[in-house]
Amino acid sequence: MTTYDVTVIGAGAIGSSVAYHLCEKGFKVALIDKGDIAHGSSSHCDAVALICDKQPGLDTRMGAASIAHYAELAQKFEYDFEFDRKGCLYVCETDAEYEAASAYAARQAADGYEMGMVDNKTLCEMEPYLAKDMVGGIWTPGDAAMSPYKVCFAFTYEAEKLGLTKYTYCNISSVTPVSGGFHLSTDQGELMTGKIVNCGGVWAPDIGALSGLSIPIQPRKGMNLISEKCEKISFHKVLEFGYMMSKFDSINFKRNVSPLVEEYNVAFNIEYTHANNVLLGGYRGFRGFDIRSEVEAMKAIAERGLRFYPVLRDINCIRSYAGVRPFIEDHLPIVSEVDTLPGYFIAAGHEGDGICLSPITGKLMAQLVAGEETDFDISGLDFARFAAQKASA
């Protein structure tokens, strides 16, 4: 039977990063996935690493640390994951939005993050194809983009140089705690591992159930449209301020949009890719694990896109796609050991920020597994918070 120090389950943006960072520390690591590398949410998403869509505090700190780490990895890795520090504009349609955005940006700037406001004139210069009637926006120069599945391929490629063993298309039938760790039965053989890191994203609850754990992650669907290759029409990552509202339903903010856009909770965002396509989003909805494209949502995304980039009217859409984000009610991921099951760790639940937070999550998780002090306090990401919430409810 093969023995590993640590077994990482799930080879998406989180698991591949965790596996890489563990290998870097010298652990003997196995990475198991029921499918290919990046076959789940990490290849059914867009990919940006932003701080300007984070809640002030720990959420933003994670984002900033992750983007800084991405920049280091882009230098260091042989595998090119298309890291592009394009900067991000959050555009405001109304004075009310601009006011709310200014307060948010001021709060983030006070915490030391590079974020400021730009007016209509600057916006029009930075994004010449953007509708001319925007009030202004938040500008975050350090925000970045990358190819989401290439991030996963890059981490596994680099980790294999450090001794990683991959088990793709591998199904786990049981996880049994034994002296010194866990015994895993899989359709590719029996494994012994000292520790386990569950990086299953939306499937983390299924993996957790094998060990009797109840992990409160739900699939939250997203959808994007892809354009044909075209002349560059956007030069940064651009989102509407209403995006924040669609992400955090606690923000009570009503936009002047059509019933269709409202119904599908569509918030405009656009990004150019390295292949000269444009990705147009986005949408949030609870549809279980159904990731079929919804035609009405496609219409709503196109309609909202045209409001901000009228030039899209004559550009062709060649494909739609959809995926599921691992949603947790408090919008914070789990990055912790399970207190009731020593040696079992969880890094999951990043809801649409998995690509962004992949590098820092891998780094912090490797520190936790090694029993080291983490770069900063992440007790807010503890799995035990759910048991505490239940007890106080």
Binding site: V295, M298, G305, L312, N316
Partner: protein, 93 residues
């Protein structure tokens, strides 16, 4: 079955050769989607209408699999390219 030379372009939209597809298979791709993610075959304007069968054939011959074991690209609307304007106006997808 005919073996395509490595230099032959299989995906015309993205200009991906048979050799690049074989390289993707060596890197771990086991199905049409795995090839697509690694080298972009099938990601262009025609969305694999021309090359998907060829990619399937190469997967089958390289891995010794049957056509029903190498999958297909997920069916997704629109069925043909449509301008974002037509889509927003509610034209049939």
């Amino acid at each position: 079955m005919e073996r395509y030379d490595d230099e032959i372009i299989v995906c015309r939209c993205e200009e991906i050769t048979a050799g690049e597809i074989r390289q993707a298979i060596r890197e771990g791709a086991r199905d049409v989607t795995g090839v697509k993610r690694r080298v972009r075959a099938g990601m262009g304007l025609c969305q694999g209408r021309t090359c998907e069968k060829l990619v399937q054939q190469i997967l089958c011959s390289e891995l010794g699999l049957r056509p029903n074991q190498v999958g297909a690209s997920s069916p997704r609307p629109p069925v043909r390219p449509i301008a974002f304007g037509e889509l927003a106006d509610g034209e049939v997808v």
